[in-house]
Subunit: 158 residues, 3 copies
């Protein structure tokens, strides 16, 4: 199928990232080309939880790096998080039904060749180095996102 | 008009469900085909407030069913809910201007023949039985959602 | 480029409005036609912070007008607002990197000729007068939004 799907992932929440990555994996399995552009809080989804590099960060950027979630499993729910009870409950319910976790969907998308883009402006403001994100990410400007979106058959803002 | 609109309703909030259903009703009135795919919190919009069936639910699913809103009028606002004050105020303001409520827009969409889909993965994880949702809902997988989205002229993620 | 972008701005949050207006400005710079339809909380983005006209407002509408943000710089973040600490920190980080503020992106979009629409139903319910919003806004119904969306190449719900 010669079709293209373009997802702008703005949200850095467990449930929304799950929705985006389930759609991305499903599309890839159907032979649809998938591009994901992570902007703003969305960049948090792409953080490598093992990597932290304070080099070149301002004080605010250091604080921001410390107080925001480190990668997929640190993300909270967009509602009913209730001090992590909601997030833990959701994960329990997913395991009961033998569903993959968010990190599995992320790794699935990486293996299936989903194209990962990060927003340059967000990355500069938040101060994340390329070495703090998963290696597949390519940093681009909004113009390149728009070109890709215009060439796609479905575009969603998550 | 031979046009198609595809809405993915992820959010289970009063104001966002209102936006999605106002768009769906408006489109139908213009002769546009409308498909709504309810995933994750969006499934809460489709709950029949009178129906509860604990059969086959795990403990977590029972708790989840009890602590989440039961149908349209139990949904909170995405912001300024302020312990229901915001939701009640919004409803008052809508009534003052003789606007229909969310439940009216939902029933309008059902009468006008909007196609209602529910997400299989969400339904399995949350443990809602088909008999706990409005009868028009058909449960489908993400692949069927994607096929429908690819065949639509406008796709939105709400 | 003979392309069109259609943004439905539902959210009235600093970060989401920023995302929408950065996309709108970028698209205009590429020669893409841009329409922004502000509905529900999105109308708050378009408020002129200097203007308040109680004429014709019900008691609830007066309260609503008083307790909601007045224009771009009064908007909160969609997450990590933490009693404005998050919003101030984000603005600091944007200034450190010499990025324009939300109000600059809004004014840029106005100068570049982005078409601003406001949702009639939302405006009636919330009770905002046309004189309380930026002068470029034209109030339209959902049908006109849908016509425009159907004629666009990319549609996003922010």
């Amino acid at each position: 199928m010669d079709k293209r799907l373009n997802l702008l992932v703005f949200s850095g929440e467990y449930d929304k990232a799950l929705a985006a990555l389930i759609i991305a994996n499903g599309a890839k399995e159907m032979g649809i080309d998938v591009t994901m552009f992570f902007a703003f809080w969305g960049l948090l989804v792409l953080r490598d939880p093992e990597k932290y590099n304070p080099h070149g960060k301002s004080l605010f950027q250091k604080l921001f790096t410390l107080f925001t979630p480190k990668g997929t499993e640190g993300l909270t729910l967009s509602k009913m998080n209730m001090g992590w009870v909601g997030q833990m409950m959701l994960k329990k319910m997913m395991r009961e039904k033998n569903k993959p976790m968010l990190v599995d969907f992320l790794n699935g998308a990486r293996k299936k060749g989903v194209k990962f883009y990060g927003c340059k402006l967000s990355q500069e403001v938040m101060g994340f180095g390329k070495d703090e994100l998963i290696p597949e990410v390519e940093i681009i400007e909004v113009y390149e996102y728009l070109k890709d979106a215009l060439n796609s058959d479905v575009q969603l803002f998550v």
